[in-house]
Structure formats: C-alpha cells, structure tokens
Subunit: 238 residues, 2 copies
DNA sequence: CACATGATTCTTGCATACAAGCCTTGCATG
DNA sequence: CATGCAAGGCTTGTATGCAAGAATCATGTG
C-alpha cells in the first residue's frame, strides 16, 4: 500500500488517534465531558488540532459537540449498534459471496497467522479485540473489498464499544476464535455457502452478547434521546 | 467584522453544504484547486470554518488536502466507484431482503409520490438525480434502515459524480423511472425475490453506464495514482 | 537557446485572541 | 432555611497572525 497519502497532519492525527483509542477502549466513559482546552493542555498542543480531531470524532459519532456548552463522549446508542450490525452483516456476507478462486495465498497466510495469534492470546481482551478486527478486515481483503471495510469499520464504532463491554462479560474468547476458524476453513476450501452460514451465525452471536450487556450497564447507553448534557466532567488523562 | 451575523455556528455547515453541492454537481471540476483563502474571501468568512468544511469533505473523499501545496477537488477514482457500487448493492439488497409485512403505508405513499414526480420531471437532470436519491433512501427507510443509507450515501460520492456524468450522456431518464417502478411494485406486492432481482439489475445497469463514461471523459478520472497535483487553479465562484 | 539557481509568492498547519452564550456559584433577601 | 438573581467562569465558534515548505518565475550563465 504505497498510497501517496495526503501529507500527514501529525498533530491532528495524533490527537484523533489517541482520543479515539480512549473512547473505544472505554477509558473515556460515555457521557463524560471533554474540554478542548484541557485536552489541548494535556497533549501540549493548541486548540486547533484538538478541535479538528473532535470534528472527525463527531462525524464518526463518538463525541457530540454542543456550541457554548461542551463536548461529550456520546453514549452508546442501541439504534446505532443495531444499524451497524445490519450494515456489517450485509457487507461482510456479500463480500464472502463474491469470493472467487484462486485466493491470494499471501492473504490467506496472513489470516492463518492471525488465527494462530488469536489462540495464543490468553485473556488479554484488547489484543484479542485488535486481532478480531484484523481478521474481519482480512476476510474482506480476500475478496478485494478492503476499502469497503473501512466504511463499515467507521460506521460501527458504537457497536465496537458495546462489544468491548460484552467481551468483558464473556471471557470465552476461545469460542470466538473457533468460529473464526470455521469461517476461514470453509472460505479457503471454496465452500462459500458454509462460510456464509458460519459468518452469519458468528455475527449474530456477537450481537446477542451485546444486547445482553445493555441491561447490565444502562448508564452507558442512551436513555432519553432528548436528554441534555451536563458539564459535570469525569475527565482524566492517563 | 463588518456584518453582524444573526445566526452563528452555521458558517462551517454553510460552507460545507455549498462546496459539496458544487463538487457533486461538477461545478467544481475534478482535479481543480480550491484555495482556502479565496474561498473564505468569496464566502465572506474566515479561514477557520472553510478549513473545517474542507476537513469534512476530505473525510468524504471529495477533496484532497496536501500540506503546503494546496487543496484539490479529487478526481473520480474508478476504484472507489466500484467499491461504492459493491457497498450499495450489498446494503440495498439486504435491506430489501429484510422487508417484513405489513409495510408502513405512509412510507409507501411517499415512494409512490416520488415515482409520480420522477415521471413528471422532464429532462432536468438535477431534479431527477435528487428524486432518484430520495427513492433509494425511501426504499431503505421502508425496511427501517434509513440510517444505514446515510452511511452508504456518504461513501458513494465518487459514484455519484460519475453518475452525474453518465446521466448527462443518457437522456433516457424514463428507463430508470421504469426500473424504479418495477422494484417498487414487486416490493409492495411482497415479492421480495423479484424486487431483489429488479434492484440488482437496476444498480448494475447504472454502473455499466458509469463505466461507459470513463473512456469518454478520462481527464476527470484518476489516471496515474502517483501523479502529483498542480497549483493551477480553475477556481471560480458562481 | 537550454538550463541551473535563487527570490518570491503561494499554500496549509498550528497558535493565539476575541466573541457570544450557558452553567454554576455565591450572595442578598424574604 | 429557602429562593431568586446577578456576576463570573467556562464552553465552543470564529477571526487572525505566524511559520515552514513547495511550486513558480525571473535571472544569470553555459
């Protein structure tokens, strides 16, 4: 991938990346406030790159900005979670369906290696989460639809946070790895129908877990859609 | 500041909306330069809202910003067009598949009215384009997946520009309306399979038209992916 | 004429200053 | 003690200034 990327606007991208990690990783609690000034000071930059990062996160649905009131980490919206589920299922299944032989051996090897690392990963949820993400992207890359994965990935940030909660509750990461393996095996053996069945089942089980958590930690989810934010901040950096 | 603005905070959105329309409508030619300073002066605002609007357009893939070089309307990327086609087909078909009776009569009526207006629209390409967009969104709304449509819609900006070119070449808008009608009739009659078939055929015909145009106006498309941009500007506002 | 080279003029990225409005807090008052 | 109210602190939105670098143009040289 030798893309002549538009020049890396380093500060903005750094702020974006770091804050996004904190939000997805639930270090920044849904509903809490983020002050542009505090964040800028903590990161040693001015408000400009911070502000632009917030704009990107807003577009991604991870934060909500209210003029002259404040910026807040958005609560997990069950509606958005469900829509992301629908979107990813539609796209990932279509991608699997569009697989054509012969498969790119290098990409297959990467997936195989990924699965191996999944098994080695013990109880480290974050590592597993990253590997899971990489696996699904690799699966779409196999069909040449990696760029569509970016779209799906960006749209499913609410789903990801919910999954982060779900995975914490269900430490049987091995089950997920097994499902991944079943999908992979069917895909490389050319049995698209079976792969499709396994993938659908896998995605729906994940979704079921997510819904189970919603009742457990309701304070992290959207309650009243018209509820106004408060300035009370739970902001801490590191 | 010379003019006291009645409503603030909308500057960024205004800039974004206006520039986006110009780009999608091909009033800003793919490959041409956009100067933040010129744009700000032309719109009577400072660079800040302009800059932030450019950031959003960048995320949407409509412009490319090169630090210390310039901002350019992105050329239509056939790869992105193809990926958008894949994405929309996957999502729209899945949406149609997920239709469950009974259908919301109000939404059905809206679609019916939309089709009526499509017939009345003569050769006005922009009006038809807007109605086409509204039709497809309405179709997804029928299945309760309107918000997924937003994602698809945002991802298919390159496809849209290509279609804008394609439609100019093919004045038989009536054909498209007929296809829309076939999809709609099958959907409301509960024949999901037929609706799916019509929709797939419709989307692929549109895509075929797009590809036909690529050879006709190659200067608007990405040629050499490593080609550097030039500062030569074709910037005009109105 | 061809070509190298330095000055100039743009460009965007970041920092800073100002504007406008909401929220909180503290004080005065019944 | 409870409550109303005003002032100050904090918020984001916008404007502006500065810096670094890339492309371009003019100039000098072979």
């Amino acid at each position: 991938m030798k893309n002549p990327k538009p020049t890396r606007q380093r500060e903005r991208h750094n702020v974006y990346r770091r804050v996004r990690e904190k939000i997805i990783g639930l270090d920044f609690s849904p509903g809490s406030a983020i002050s542009e000034n505090e964040l800028a000071a903590a990161l040693g930059v001015s408000r400009t790159p911070v502000r632009e990062a917030m704009l990107l996160l807003t577009e991604e649905g991870l934060v909500e900005v209210f003029a002259k009131i404040g910026t807040f980490v958005s609560r997990v919206d069950p509606e958005q979670v469900a829509e992301a589920q629908f979107l990813r299922e539609a796209v990932e299944l279509a991608s699997l369906r569009s697989l054509s032989t012969p498969l790119d051996e290098e990409k297959v090897d990467r997936l195989r290696d990924n699965l191996r690392r999944q098994k080695e990963t013990g109880e480290d949820i974050r590592s597993f989460f990253a590997l899971d993400e990489e696996f699904h992207r690799g699966l779409m890359d196999l069909a040449g639809h990696e760029s569509s994965w970016s779209t799906v990935s960006a749209a499913k940030s609410h789903l990801d946070r919910a999954r982060m909660l779900g995975i914490r509750k269900i430490p049987e990461l091995g089950r997920l790895t097994e499902e991944h393996h079943a999908i992979f095996d069917a895909a490389v053996s050319g049995d698209a129908a079976t792969a499709e069945r396994h993938l659908r089942s896998h995605l729906r089980l994940v979704f079921a877990d997510v819904k189970a958590v919603e009742e457990d930690s309701p304070e992290l989810f959207v309650r009243d859609r018209d509820a106004g934010p408060h300035r009370r901040s739970a902001f801490v950096w590191d």
